[in-house]
């Protein structure tokens, strides 16, 4: 029976550190895959679009916990290796993030006005040139607010990694509760830690979205004025 004091507090902070590390790895790896998926989702070939759509449906239509279990036990079955929670959790969350980011970024690519495609094609640019030089630079701007919003969702989801024994913030909270018997102190504190990380990101996402709307309004107004002149 220990008291909850400085060492326990630091143990929670260490857990928070792993929560952040795991989220960032999932964001980086999932982002790379997600980018490829977004491109395939808007590919000219229908079959490619359907396959990637199925991939996204699979991850958005099943619980994250199940995805982790499947990776944890599935990879063991298929490759005959006993995975440590670290690998399973990283792979699981990277896959999960790739599906969601792929869908978010597809939306951003499709939000770029059709005229931009047509105008660029009229300049005799090929598909990839249009994509790289004209569409993607505009899509990236549109994609930033929802991507930050998804990062909040991702950080919150990593709490689920505690269920398969990965020691991040939530698991650290459980471990400290087991030795101090003070759930009324620890779990609310854990919630506060998450809140301090997630809330600023939520605010930033909302602010960016508003600023983009404003910019769209002003640029529209500017365009009208130029035409009037």
């Amino acid at each position: 029976m220990r008291q909850f004091s400085t060492p326990e507090f630091f143990f929670l902070l260490k857990g928070l550190q792993w929560t952040i590390v795991l989220s960032l790895i999932a964001l980086a790896v999932g982002g790379a895959f997600g980018f490829a998926i977004a491109l395939l989702r808007v590919a000219p070939q229908r079959a490619v679009r359907l396959i990637t759509s199925g991939y996204i449906q699979l991850f958005q239509g099943t619980p994250v916990l199940m995805q982790l279990f499947l990776v944890y036990y599935g990879l063991g079955v298929f490759f005959g290796l006993r995975l440590d929670p670290w690998t399973a959790v990283t792979v699981g969350f990277a896959l999960y993030a790739s599906a969601f980011l792929g869908e978010i970024w597809r939306g951003a690519i499709e939000a770029v006005p059709r005229e931009q495609w047509e105008g660029a094609k009229a300049l005799a640019l090929g598909y990839w040139q249009v994509m790289r030089l004209v569409v993607l630079p505009q899509a990236v701007r549109i994609a930033i607010p929802p991507t930050v919003g998804f990062l909040v969702q991702l950080i919150k989801s990593t709490a689920i990694a505690s269920i398969i024994g990965f020691v991040e913030l939530t698991r650290a909270g459980q471990l400290m509760t087991n030795v101090t018997f003070q759930p009324m102190t620890i779990y609310p504190l854990v919630a506060v830690f998450y809140f301090l990380v997630c809330w600023p990101l939520s605010l930033a996402s909302r602010r960016l979205e508003r600023r983009m709307d404003l910019r769209r309004v002003t640029s529209g107004a500017l365009a009208e004025r130029t035409i009037a002149i």
């Binding site: 449906q57 699979l58 958005q60 239509g61 099943t62 619980p63 994250v64 916990l65 199940m66 995805q67 279990f69 499947l70 036990y73 599935g74 063991g76 079955v77 298929f78 490759f79 005959g80 909040v152 919150k156 989801s157 990593t158 709490a159 689920i160 505690s162 269920i163 939530t170 909270g173 459980q174 509760t177 003070q182 759930p183 009324m184 779990y187 609310p188 854990v190 919630a191 998450y194 809140f195 997630c198 809330w199 939520s202």
Partner: protein, 224 residues
């Protein structure tokens, strides 16, 4: 690759899996009803309530949307007993899901309420209706129609999110699957089957909720 898949054992245990799936759906549906009630009240207070209450609702929304559902569940199930409030696992699951859904629903419905044209509210007031009456008879139905797709996808997220209540040992699909795989040592097969069931439920509800939208909002809106 010398693993032999045995799905026979999954088929034998299908009734138990389906019972778990039924509880998952029941939990999600009950939590949605409660959460929608919270959401309607929350959206009303956010837009029409006294300043202090509107602010309190805003805090509730931000806190529950920026902390993990699993941690909210732990506070309900493990922390509250120290204050003398002991909940059953299933009760904690239902209350946790309802409060969580309520926060999202409040925020979604608020956007819907604000999207209803101002002129309609003024017209309602001019007819001598009170604030609450205007909200109930003019705004609410339209607000729900506007944000229906967002509410529907939030319902699916809630159903999938309920998977983590297995951590406090309720008997929904994930918990049942855990029990079965640990007694049969056929982890992959069972998780594979459960994942399939979740996917079926998601697709079923997406289709069903789409049909419900048509039934409630589109039917009878024929051009006469």
């Amino acid at each position: 690759m010398n693993y032999v898949f045995q799905f026979g054992i999954v088929v034998d245990n299908l009734p138990r899996l389906l019972a778990g799936a039924a509880l998952t759906v029941k939990l999600a549906a009950a939590a949605t009803v409660l959460g929608l009630a919270i959401g309607i009240l929350g959206a009303y207070l956010r837009t029409n309530g006294p300043r202090a209450l509107a602010w309190a609702v805003a805090v509730y929304i931000e806190v529950f949307r920026n902390t993990p559902f699993l941690v909210q569940l732990f506070i309900l199930y493990f922390s509250l007993p120290s204050l003398g409030l002991r909940l059953e696992a299933n009760q904690a699951a239902l209350i946790g899901m309802a409060i969580n859904f309520g926060a999202y629903a409040s925020e979604i419905l608020r956007a819907g309420v604000e999207a209803v044209p101002e002129g309609q509210i003024e017209a309602g007031r001019a007819l001598g209706l009170g604030r609450v009456q205007v909200f109930r008879r003019i705004i609410l139905f339209q607000a729900i129609r506007i944000v229906y797709p967002a509410l529907a996808s939030q319902f699916v997220l809630l159903m999938l999110g309920s998977s983590v209540v297995a951590a406090i040992s309720a008997e929904e699909l994930t918990a049942i699957t855990n029990t079965l795989q640990s007694t049969t040592f056929r982890a992959f097969e069972f998780y594979f089957a459960a994942t399939g069931l979740y996917l079926l439920m998601t697709l079923g509800f997406r289709a069903g909720l789409g049909g419900l939208y048509w039934y409630v909002f589109e039917r009878g809106r024929r051009a006469t």
